[in-house]
């Protein structure tokens, strides 16, 4: 996988995270949490646009025509395939996955690729508030199942110990490899990752996960603008 494909994965994940956050803007447990969900959703959708904008300067835009028709061509994690049905899923994504993406962004900012060093820096300061929000709700206690799943997908997203991220780290494009990224994530969340076995032979290097699946049809339709077209007058 190239650096551009990793940035596309980050962009697709940020886009889906933003959409899933936004879906909770009227469903969170308090008015303040509603507003925070909406604000974080806007932040992450904005971040995804910045990340997509980095693909061309990286000289290797991996987006292909099939993104118009094939939901399987999106690189977001399976965690975002379906709308979340429980607040615990929101909190686990906010605390673990959002922070995992931030840790990767930090690795890009501290790496040797100029376009990433300059354009991604502002995200780090905005993400501070996502982190505070996630960590606080996590401390309040949530169901373990979504939390374990978020940890698994975060660690899988960092990639195998000797895989592409390790290679990008070796070249200096990223300041951290998979082990350091996991360590930084644990350090930020002040907790050890749950012990787990990852079957890297089943790992999909594009979606960066060993879980199968695709974005749900409604969300994919929304991404492609199809949802709005359904409400056009006939023949428009």
């Amino acid at each position: 996988m190239t650096l551009a494909t990793l940035v596309l994965s980050l962009a697709d994940n940020k886009q889906m995270l933003g959409l899933r956050y936004a879906e909770w803007a009227t469903r969170a447990p308090s008015l303040e949490a509603d507003i925070a969900a909406a604000a974080m959703g806007l932040d992450d959708l904005g971040h995804s646009r910045v990340l997509y904008g980095c693909l061309q300067p990286l000289g290797d835009d991996p987006r292909r025509q099939e993104r118009e028709t094939d939901p399987g061509s999106y690189l977001a994690l399976p965690y975002f395939d379906e709308p979340w049905s429980a607040w615990a899923q929101f909190v686990a994504a906010n605390a673990v996955l959002d922070t995992a993406f931030s840790v990767m962004i930090q690795a890009c900012v501290d790496g040797n690729v100029e376009v990433l060093r300059t354009r991604l820096r502002k995200m780090i300061s905005e993400e501070r508030y996502h982190f505070l929000h996630g960590r606080s709700w996590l401390k309040a206690g949530i169901d373990q199942e979504p939390l374990l799943e978020a940890w698994r997908q975060a660690i899988e997203w960092f990639g195998p110990p000797d895989g592409d991220v390790a290679e990008l780290h070796g070249r200096g494009a990223l300041s951290m490899g998979p082990a350091q990224l996991t360590a930084r994530l644990q350090e930020r969340l002040e907790t050890a990752a749950p012990s787990m076995e990852v079957d890297w032979s089943a790992w999909d290097p594009m979606r960066r996960s060993s879980r199968a699946g695709v974005i749900d049809e409604r969300t994919f339709g929304m991404l492609r603008g199809l949802e709005e077209k359904r409400f056009y007058p006939a023949g428009a």
Binding site: E32, I35, Y129, H130, S136
Partner: protein, 77 residues
């Protein structure tokens, strides 16, 4: 000052006053308040709720950390 007691999603929450300013020459002024169980969430809520304007500084203070000298309707000093 009488502090409101809240019992909502979290068992124990505090009210925080939010202060901000747009220019260095301006003093901080109170722009609103948020309710949260801890400083972290209060900071996240304050930023999410009041970030629409271009503040150069924003700060939060727990309402119960403020000492009221006098209030409307009370004698000065």
């Amino acid at each position: 000052m009488t502090h409101r007691q809240f019992s909502r999603v979290h068992a124990d929450v505090r009210e925080y006053e939010v202060f901000a300013r747009k220019l260095r020459i301006e003093p901080l002024r109170q722009i609103g308040s948020v309710v949260a169980p801890d400083d972290d969430l209060a900071a996240a809520y304050a930023r999410a709720t009041y970030d629409e304007e271009r503040w150069i500084e924003m700060a939060i203070v727990p309402t119960d950390a403020m000492t009221t000298l006098w209030a409307p309707g009370e004698d000065v000093g």
